[in-house]
């Protein structure tokens, strides 16, 4: 595989990552959200492997396998199990309506391209053109956390953000050192477990996973 092809495949996969990110922003059903998240993880994993092959960085293979096992198999499985256990089937409610969210998302992508323009000019890596996409994915993940009310979708938003960060690391510097990546992977896994536990508690306390309910936890203003 020559560098030209690799760069094109890389761009192609980046486009898919961004597409799934937008898909998640638009998707209303939880099951489909998880599926989209799984796809995003898959693209990410393939991309990492290809970058590792072209740049001759073997530790990226390990990253790739980690991503595959965590984000394509383990985390979707945990989320599925959670949804079955908690019996959540209804559609996801959003705070802002979906077209508006999509528009904000597009603005964020343009903003990311503007931001990363100087970096792209300086960089010599084959992946340089995808840094903007990676940054956009991070921001869209955060946007998703802001616009959704359901705790499970917020977690998916958080994980999508993490995907974006991982993608950014691969694009900007051919990945972080292996130790860091292992640490991050472990963090994500543990975060998922903690979220799982919290879901049960929130569910039993509020009888709902709507995070709006948690506004009740706010300290009331003390008035004399």
């Amino acid at each position: 595989m020559n560098i030209q092809t690799a760069s094109q495949i890389n761009g192609f996969l980046a486009a898919f990552v961004l597409l799934t990110a937008f898909g998640m922003l638009a998707q209303k059903r939880i099951y489909s959200l998880i599926h989209l998240f799984t796809w995003q993880g898959l693209f990410l994993s393939i991309n990492t492997a290809i970058v590792g092959y072209v740049a001759n960085k073997h530790h990226l293979y390990i990253s790739s396998i980690l991503t595959l096992s965590l984000k394509v198999f383990l985390l979707p499985y945990i989320l599925h199990a959670l949804i079955v256990r908690l019996n959540i089937r209804k559609e996801v409610e959003t705070v802002v309506n979906i077209p508006a969210t999509m528009l904000i998302g597009i603005a964020l992508v343009i903003f990311s391209y503007h931001l990363t323009a100087p970096v792209t000019e300086l960089s010599t890596l084959i992946t340089r053109s995808t840094i903007a996409v990676a940054l956009a994915t991070v921001m869209i993940g955060l946007l998703m956390m802001i616009t959704r009310r359901h705790a499970v979708t917020q977690i998916i938003g958080f994980l999508a953000m993490e995907n974006g960060l991982f993608f950014a690391a691969t694009s900007a510097t051919y990945g972080m050192p292996l130790v860091v990546e292992l640490g991050v992977a472990l963090d994500v896994l543990i975060a998922a477990f903690i979220f799982g536990i919290f879901f049960f508690h929130i569910h039993t306390t509020f009888d709902s996973l709507d995070v709006e309910q948690m506004a009740r936890l706010k300290e009331e203003d003390y008035t004399e």
Partner: protein
């Protein structure tokens, strides 16, 4: 020399810390616990005194570096004569109070678990000793905070009552505001002495060697002075004192008022004379002015109190003022390059520091003894205690005479030296100062007179006359531990009063190292018996001869009265034929201070109310009169209430940020990131 004073001092701190830790193990047997741990504290204090006296007398400076600090930031300890002097002050009173506490706390064991008191007592003393030993900003602040936190828990000891919790909270707030100012001041000095690249500027040695630009030096000084003034209780930062001192256990009040406030004086002297070194005259003017205000306001507020411990707390404000007058004068003289006069004023201030520690400790111990046996803090309910508690009464009287600056006790000597320093001010080259100084001297004189009036009231109402309260409690004299603690400090008061030349020769090294001149050549030129601050022909005083005179007069009067026993007759009080005299009709604290309240009324927030009780048949023949008097500190409404209200308002506004919705919080982060990125990309 194998053992240096600094080793003894460090060992003393270690002993205190170990005692504090070990106290927890013996909480099952409180009697044993109090005896052993307070003896251990007394021993540790005695060690501190030894090393302090040795350091000053031998003019030795010991250093020690402990590797127990943060990585690359070891703790520096240094015992120079200035530290040694304050080590002596702290150690001496802690020694007396520890002996006193062995009795005082033992009496409490039945009511309440005392292990908390013992632990924090040890930590408190250790904190004060460490403050004066510290030779870097980090260790200083750690010790400072340890001292503040320990004393907070001591004030909170009787936390069942809401007023105690409130007082402790107020104390904690003021202590921390002060600590932040001190931290900033050290930050400025450390940054200027070694740059902001590394931490090497945090040692006092680095600050000492640095030359500060005038503007930054002023900022550092103002911050430090504010911070230390908050701890010392300088007006208008004094409000925590009359709240916190009365509610703390009396042995703790004695330490807080007697020596904890002195660590702030130590800080001021250390920062101005030692670390900064060169300063303009108006710094001294500021210290002097605040000292004068504190002295006058402190004594006036004290006069209005009828809670014995509250009264003493306000007197601490007054005495801190007097000490600051000495320090401020010394700063003025130093900046005009008049070293001998600066030495006189400095020694006057330091002398008063030691004296105040002794007599205020004694007075608080006496108040504690009264409180212990009557369970009453309100003077209006007391009276006639001299018959039930003769020892306490006599010792309290010694404290009263000392604090009122009457010869032959110690308070007179230091205030007289301060006056001498004032009287030298015509030789200042500054016209403004020449004009202001006589007023300052007059205010100091007024303070002295009012203090005497206040202690006539305190002693008279508490110990003389008859019991004013409705229920007479079973009053008894206190035990030997408490008496010993008081006797020792009373003796120290007397010795400091009649042998001032010894003290001045001992502290020569201090004035020599700080202001570059010594006092003993002129002060002791008339021999050990005569104290002559400038020259014998100008002013001289002999405490010893006055003491002998007092003894002779006393002996003669005693002889005249007791040689012929028939001369003393005891009879009923003459009631002017009224025949229904009750002990409630005695002169009391409120009536005694009434003339002064009339004169200086504008300084207080007074609410006075007289009502005739409604049961009376005719208003001309009232059955009962109800009199209500409330006196509040004006500074509350002037300074503290606006600040507190503003704080609450701002917090309520800021509190709106707390939406309770995760999305809102996420939006905050999101917007922050976007804005930061925008700013960076532009």
């Amino acid at each position: 020399m194998i053992v240096a004073p600094v080793d003894i001092a460090a060992a003393s701190v270690m002993l205190l810390l170990i005692t504090g830790l070990a106290a927890v193990l013996f909480r099952k047997s409180p009697g044993f616990l109090t005896t052993v741990s307070f003896y251990s504290c007394a021993l540790a204090s005695l060690m501190a005194v030894t090393s302090g006296i040795w350091t000053v007398a031998g003019n030795v400076t010991g250093k020690m570096v402990l590797l127990s600090g943060l990585p690359d930031l070891p703790f520096h300890l240094r015992l120079d004569p200035l530290s040694g002097f304050f080590l002596t002050v702290v150690g001496l009173l802690c020694f007396f109070v520890s002996i006193y506490s062995a009795g005082y706390v033992k009496a409490m064991t039945g009511r309440k678990p005392v292990v908390k008191l013992v632990v924090f007592y040890c930590l408190f003393i250790a904190g004060m000793l460490m403050v004066v030993l510290a030779d870097d900003a980090l260790f200083f602040l750690i010790s400072w905070e340890a001292m503040a936190a320990a004393s907070y828990f001591l004030v909170m000891f009787e936390d069942e009552q809401i007023e105690n919790r409130r007082a402790a909270f107020l104390y904690l707030v003021v202590a921390h505001v002060g600590a932040i100012a001190i931290l900033l001041s050290f930050g400025v000095m450390a940054g200027l002495s070694a740059g902001f690249d590394d931490f090497s500027g945090f040692t006092f040695d680095a600050m000492r060697q640095a030359q500060f630009p005038a503007k930054w030096a002023t900022i550092a000084f103002l911050l430090a002075f504010f911070g230390f003034a908050a701890k010392a209780g300088v007006v208008p930062l004094h409000v925590w004192l009359p709240e916190a001192h009365p509610v703390a256990p009396s042995n703790v009040s004695a330490l807080m008022s007697g020596v904890m406030l002195k660590t702030a004086i130590y800080g001021i002297v250390r920062v101005t004379f030692d670390l900064i070194g060169v300063f303009p005259w108006w710094w001294g003017g500021l210290v002097l002015a605040l000292g004068l205000i504190s002295a006058v306001m402190g004594v006036l507020y004290a006069l209005m109190q009828h809670d014995l411990k509250r009264l003493l707390a306000y007197h601490s404000v007054e005495n801190i003022g007097i000490i600051l007058i000495g320090i401020g004068l010394s700063m003025i003289f130093t900046s005009f390059n008049l070293p001998v006069m600066a030495a006189l004023a400095l020694i006057a201030g330091l002398y008063h520091t030691l004296n105040h520690a002794m007599f205020k400790g004694l007075l608080f111990m006496g108040a504690g003894a009264v409180l212990h046996s009557t369970h009453e803090r309100n003077m209006e309910e007391m009276g006639g205690l001299i018959h039930k508690m003769p020892w306490t009464a006599a010792l309290f009287l010694v404290g009263c005479v000392s604090i009122s600056a009457l010869p032959p006790f110690n308070g007179f000597v230091s205030e007289w030296l301060t006056f001498q320093a004032f009287l030298l001010s015509p030789s200042l080259p500054n016209q403004v100062m020449k004009l202001i100084m006589p007023m300052g001297a007059a205010l100091l004189a007024l303070t002295g007179a009012l203090a005497a009036a206040c202690f006539v009231k305190a002693f008279g109402v508490t110990f003389l006359g008859h019991w004013r309260g409705r229920h007479q409690p079973n009053v008894h004299e206190v035990d030997w531990h408490m008496r010993t603690g008081m006797i020792l400090s009373a003796l120290t008061c007397l010795c400091l009063g009649i042998f001032p030349t010894v003290f001045i020769e001992w502290t020569d090294v201090l004035s020599e190292s700080l202001v570059g001149a010594k006092l003993s050549t002129s002060a002791t030129s008339g021999g050990w018996m005569w104290l002559t601050p400038i020259a014998p022909e100008r002013a001289s005083y002999s405490g010893f001869i006055v003491f002998l005179g007092v003894l002779i007069v006393y002996a003669v009067v005693y002889a005249v009265l007791h040689v012929n026993p028939g001369k003393i007759r005891r009879g009923a009080i003459w009631d002017c034929g009224f025949e229904k005299l009750t002990s409630r009709m005695q002169y009391n604290a409120t009536s005694f201070s009434m003339p002064i309240r009339r004169i200086f009324g504008f300084l207080f927030h007074i609410r006075e109310e007289t009502r005739v009780s409604p049961q009376a048949a005719h208003s001309a023949f009232p059955a009962r009169l109800i009199y209500n008097l409330r006196i509040k500190d004006r500074f509350w409404n002037w300074i503290y209430k606006p600040v507190a209200d503003a704080t609450f308002r701002v917090s309520r506004q800021v509190g709106r940020l707390q939406q309770g919705r995760i999305q809102a919080y996420l939006i905050y982060s999101f917007l922050t990131i976007i804005i930061l990125l925008l700013v960076k990309s532009l």
